[in-house]
Symmetry: D2
């Protein structure tokens, strides 16, 4: 069996950033990645270009762990792209940290990818059989080989040639000695935004990256758009056949930063509105509304506001968690959750609590949190979820468990409530969710809620 | 000049944890320190004892950076004490990371100290002149030399002998082959609590350390109390002359975790009540109440609740900050603040904002936050502080700037408001602060607000 | 310009070792590389196979620096190949440390190479133009791409297909899940020997690797021979057209270990005989014979013996040199040489010295040594070289300077003597050198002495 | 029991270097230590002084491993002392690496020590009982505490006060903001030499350190001499009562570098003469004389010369040994020796060999070497030792096994020969040894050969 077999169930969410012609290109990319840290905490990398040479620095861990004065200063040049990566699998994980930098007959080329290809297995098999040697286990590398193999002469034609062969979700940045190119797939699964900083073109997955440096947000790339930036200026092309738009609604529900603007809306506002909508659909008579921090906070505020119930931060989140944590051998009840979350007895004691979270995946964490609240004196715990039940995995770049591991794929809301041990459980409806998105409501991928997948993975 | 001169202006806040006779002593101490991480992020150490030998592991950085499987497993034995440290000064900072472990004629002895001695300079000079060789620049080491020099025979007598010579703030843990000893100074400046975990005695600076492992909180040590734990059991003595109690009120205002119980109260509840009291004293007519996250959140909730103004998380805090951050050379406006805090324009735009924080030290950070809110569309910014103006430094273990650097030491509230650029500024009154502490109100040190120092540093 | 351009002047000498089906395959490869350390001190790597997976560990530095318990133990499996590398160039030098491990359509494949290809530039250009993506700047990788691209079905046919396209010097080891293959090019430039250890087949560049572990030396591979070892046994094939044999005579003069047996002779014996021959050709009347340690020792003993002049270790070599050495800013005369060599005044004072070395490359080191001897009291210094003048570079795997940097390419023996500052200078004749090799005399490459290159590098 | 108990059987050999007022003080100390590397390979340290502050850098490993550009450059100032250390024991070995740097009431003080105190246990007990806290397990630290405790006012008086209380072997260097002081104990057990480099005073354990940098050797310190170097110049005092001189003869036999001059003679010359003397006392009729490299080489040359038997380097020493070596689990015969030494079959086959070494300690290594020679074809092996049988341990700074582990303490020469498996065994006589030292013959400690210890360790 091919040891590089690509497991179709393992995908990654990521963040990307790029800048063209700025004297501090690498430093600003570092800042941009820092602002996108929540999109990928397992690895980070930057490639810079000085117009004749590309340099790369990357590593495992947080942006701040990977980049120090000494390696940032090696990233000379006025153009750069960067990447933060969430999940990693296989042994030689550093190899899979992006950007990838290769030398092809036409020169140096770097790529950074947010998304997931659905026909990667088949494409890789074909390329390997005709003699391509892969350096990673990542689907992203396939795009590089397709470009290297293309018989077209111009790079943009080679790129289009290659991208017409791949299917799936891809927001991409390419860097060479001559250009910075941004690509968003025809469905627009993942965000990609264009900005301007001190006269330089910048790209990022979210506006939070622009805010940190004070860059101006210009617009989102259209689905299917390719933006080519060279010394001669910026050019936009749309070489792919038109397609329906399928933006990932989970970016709004959970994934993006609340202070970011993506897919035409501010994320905090969407979540706050989801909380109000949830209050209308699934009200409860409780003494206090408590969020599961941090992601549940905006919806909980909206929920409390709509129902005029006091909002309390009844659970404290510990933010010092690193990637590894040494668990004591002696079983400590609900250890995994307690490392992150500590309920406040003085707030909870004797109270009926409306607990607000954004999703339930396997149900085990929710079960532990509900248990912890009761241990700390909560009289009743009513769990409210600011999204519909998650019934299917994502094939477009979010790392989700298999269908069978998703508790809502096989259990009714009532059964989930019993499993979790809550006094009541209420999910937001799909209609309610889409109503909050207003005029944009038809442009979202909701496959993880309704099983309507725009594309399925191919073997 | 003595190169080890102890700068009386540089002190440190710290957290300590200890456990006696538990098979996973070191692992649990690691957990305890992890829960106390907010009390000291510059260094951490653990000393364990197996009844015949003490072992030490320590390092610079967060608990998770310092301790890994490989060094934790070297900390064999069933007793342990640990320490997290905030500020470090001088060159050989690792040497100053506690616990300190020394060998004296009576055997091994380890010490962990939260607090600051006010007569350290004089004591050290005397000891050095009679031939003591110091290993660190820390005031804590003085206690060890005084014990080593004592002419008493029993360790407890040597300890009392030594502690009668030192003045200042000291919550202490001692570990030897035979005992674990906890000490709280007669003023009770710093917290120290007693708990029980699976039949073992545990000590910690805050209850949050007990919560994480599921230990039971028994009681706080009394000011002036020494608790000696040996194989024969636990013994409490109070060998010092009685004194008035002077618990640090800043632990309640800012320093301790909101989910901790210290000085007879839950911290979140105190802060929430401070917010309500602030609303009564300094109300404002605003569209929304926004906290400076994270420490300003409980007071902001209370403030909003009292005034029935919507509470909004209008500023997002980035929690991925490491100790070092590479600043771009090109000046980015308000860079330092923007790395941590990002305002949400969609929430703030056109709004009159009541901004709630717990303190103003130099005023420069508040100035930047107010400016950022305005940049992001806030129409008015009314700053409310859930404590009185900080007018003096702390000599009892909190690292504060000098008096002249404290903006409230020389400027009126009106001038501070002008400096910060807010539309209005309101502080909580000292009376209001103490009223919230209720029957405990006479037991607090408020010297940083009213200049009534129980002890002054000696040269 | 292609940034991966292969500089035809930069080549490396290396050592390789392999073992098939031994429970301690990786540990024994580590020992084998350790014994071959003199052949490459800049980097080392090992790939192991457990029959279904290949694992790699490599690093910069000495074998002992690169391999520790923790990475050796990750190299599971009962087959392994290893490589030590001398010179490194380019930026990402770790990438160029061998073995290389890749995954091709047929499975995992690892390669270790001692030698240098003379048509690498042309082959790489062709491969890149048809879409191959290279991972390194090494000529060795070309062989992997040629194998991946071959249309043959069986691996051995793909291998032959690939090797028929490359020219130059190559002693190779290949490892896959199924086989260990050893290859020596048709000229036999570099050594490669077959041995047996505890029933397992072993390969090494020199017998010293066998001696260390107590393996039995069986025979040298023939030029042009391929030995394939699988579970079914060992098979030898010779698929290439016959060629004249051109073994590198510098292995005998300087490169190989004196305790090794390569190219049909023991190296110490050859060097001792070269010293005797040199004494016959270029005798001198001196008080003592002193070698330039360590490589000049055997020839100096032979030289002294033949002339019946006392042999003295009048120069002490310091063996603690690491790769980097911090030079004081203040010029210390002959610093570079003195770090390695210290003459003994008590031995040299007032003496006429016959100084024996194996070669003169640029002349500057010899100049410094002669000067040091005089500084330490030597009355006369007569330099004797146990090889002919080095007049041309090597294209077959030894890292030499360009022709113009070789002092003997442009200066007469008399001029070299004057430059070096010796009282007399005598080289061994080419005839004398070859006479020592006896019946083997026609099977050596002596191009660096006589400019008769069997193959020239192609652009 | 006191865990810092000083084991009287564990001592260390060391090397020291110091320089006063040179702009490159730290770099030159690094060079000096590098030249003294053979005297201690387990750890190295340097303390520098800029006249107002002392700085320290130290680490485990070779000089080249410990010192890099980045830590050398932190050693600012124009005065420095350094130390290389051989054996280490206990857990926190880095703490025991010298120089030690402490701050006492009088200011900074650093010490570097070659030797061993014989009354350390008693002195330490007394100091600890009066309240001194020790930082290390080293006897050297005792001297610092004695100085700190002295009631004298001037540093030189405090020093003399302290040194009058210690017994044993001590060549010492002290560095403060104001002075560099060199001390040699009254017996003169260990060497200490004075030199001059570019107008600056330098001290070193051997002249090889002077040679490397081109410093001029002035003279050896007298036993009992203290040399004080300050800005006002150099002053020599001899405050101790006169004693007989007892220089360590093992420095000449084995320990010092052959290119060094110590105790009034060049070491190579002494060893060469020992070989000639050995030939006169214990001749043999053999085909070749082979040294055990490297230390046996000079004696073997002398032995061969005297007997007119060909000298051959029949055993090759591998110089790439690091401190740790991963041994394969499968027993490899004579592995430990083969890692270092490889016999050359082509040289040994069918020969009667006179094997020359400088000492036999436990006998096991000699046994393995003799066995290896036979395995490689030697017909006869006649072992000749260029010193008398080692019958007792050293208490003056050389790390030796206990008396019972020394094979010559309990076995006759005949029995040792049988144990080793040699055809004959001959030791040099004590008279022969001393004769070679000529007029100096009464000034040597030969206690390890004749049990006449000048001082015995006290409990």
């Amino acid at each position: 069996m091919n040891p590089y077999f690509i497991n179709p169930k393992l995908k990654e969410e990521c963040g990307i950033f790029g800048i063209f012609k700025h004297p501090e290109a690498a430093n600003l990319t570092y800042l941009g990645l820092y602002a996108l840290q929540h999109r990928g905490q397992e690895g980070a990398g930057i490639v810079s270009s000085d117009g004749s040479r590309l340099r790369i620095e990357k590593g495992l861990g947080l942006v701040n762990d990977v980049f120090k004065e000494e390696n940032l200063c090696r990233l000379t040049g006025d153009c750069a792209i960067g990447h933060v990566r969430y999940s990693t699998f296989g042994d030689d994980v550093l190899k899979n940290v992006q950007p990838f930098l290769v030398n092809i007959a036409q020169g140096w080329l770097a790529i950074a990818h947010n998304g997931n290809l659905t026909n990667a297995v088949r494409l890789r098999r074909t390329l390997e059989q005709s003699g391509s040697i892969f350096q990673t286990t990542s689907d992203t590398e396939i795009i590089l080989h397709l470009i290297a193999r293309s018989q077209k002469k111009e790079f943009s034609d080679r790129l289009i040639d290659a991208l017409k062969q791949v299917k799936g979700a891809f927001s991409l940045l390419f860097l060479s000695e001559k250009f910075l190119i941004a690509v968003r797939d025809s469905y627009g699964f993942r965000p990609l935004l264009l900005g301007e900083f001190g006269g330089s073109v910048v790209f990022a997955s979210e506006t939070a990256a622009f805010d940190l440096m004070g860059a101006k947000f210009i617009r989102e790339l259209d689905p299917g758009e390719i933006v080519i930036v060279t010394d001669s200026g910026m050019k936009s092309i749309k070489p792919f056949p038109p397609s329906e738009t399928k933006q990932c609604i989970f970016e709004h529900i959970y994934f993006a930063r609340p202070d970011s603007f993506v897919f035409g809306a501010n994320v905090y506002e969407v979540r706050h509105a989801l909380g109000r909508q949830l209050a209308k659909e699934k009200p409860v008579s409780a003494d206090i509304v408590v969020p599961v921090p941090d992601s549940g906070v905006p919806a909980a505020i909206g929920y409390a506001e709509e129902l005029k119930i006091p909002f309390q931060m009844g659970i404290i989140r510990n933010h010092y968690i690193g990637r590894t944590f040494i668990e004591p051998e002696q079983a400590i009840r609900n250890f995994g959750v307690k490392i992150k979350l500590n309920p406040i007895r003085a707030v909870l004691e004797g109270k009926s609590v409306a607990l607000v979270d954004d999703s339930i995946i396997r149900g085990t964490t929710s079960q532990k949190i509900v248990h912890l609240l009761r241990q700390n004196g909560a009289k009743e715990v009513h769990l409210r979820i600011s999204a519909p039940p998650t019934t299917g995995p994502c094939f477009y770049g979010i790392d989700t468990p298999t269908k069978s591991e998703l508790i809502a794929s096989s259990k009714s809301v009532q059964d989930i409530c019993a499993f979790i041990g809550a006094d009541s459980l209420g999910y937001l409806s799909l209609e309610g969710l889409l109503d909050v998105e207003q005029k944009n409501k038809h442009n979202f991928c909701t496959a993880c809620f309704d099983d309507r997948y725009p594309l399925l993975p191919e073997d």
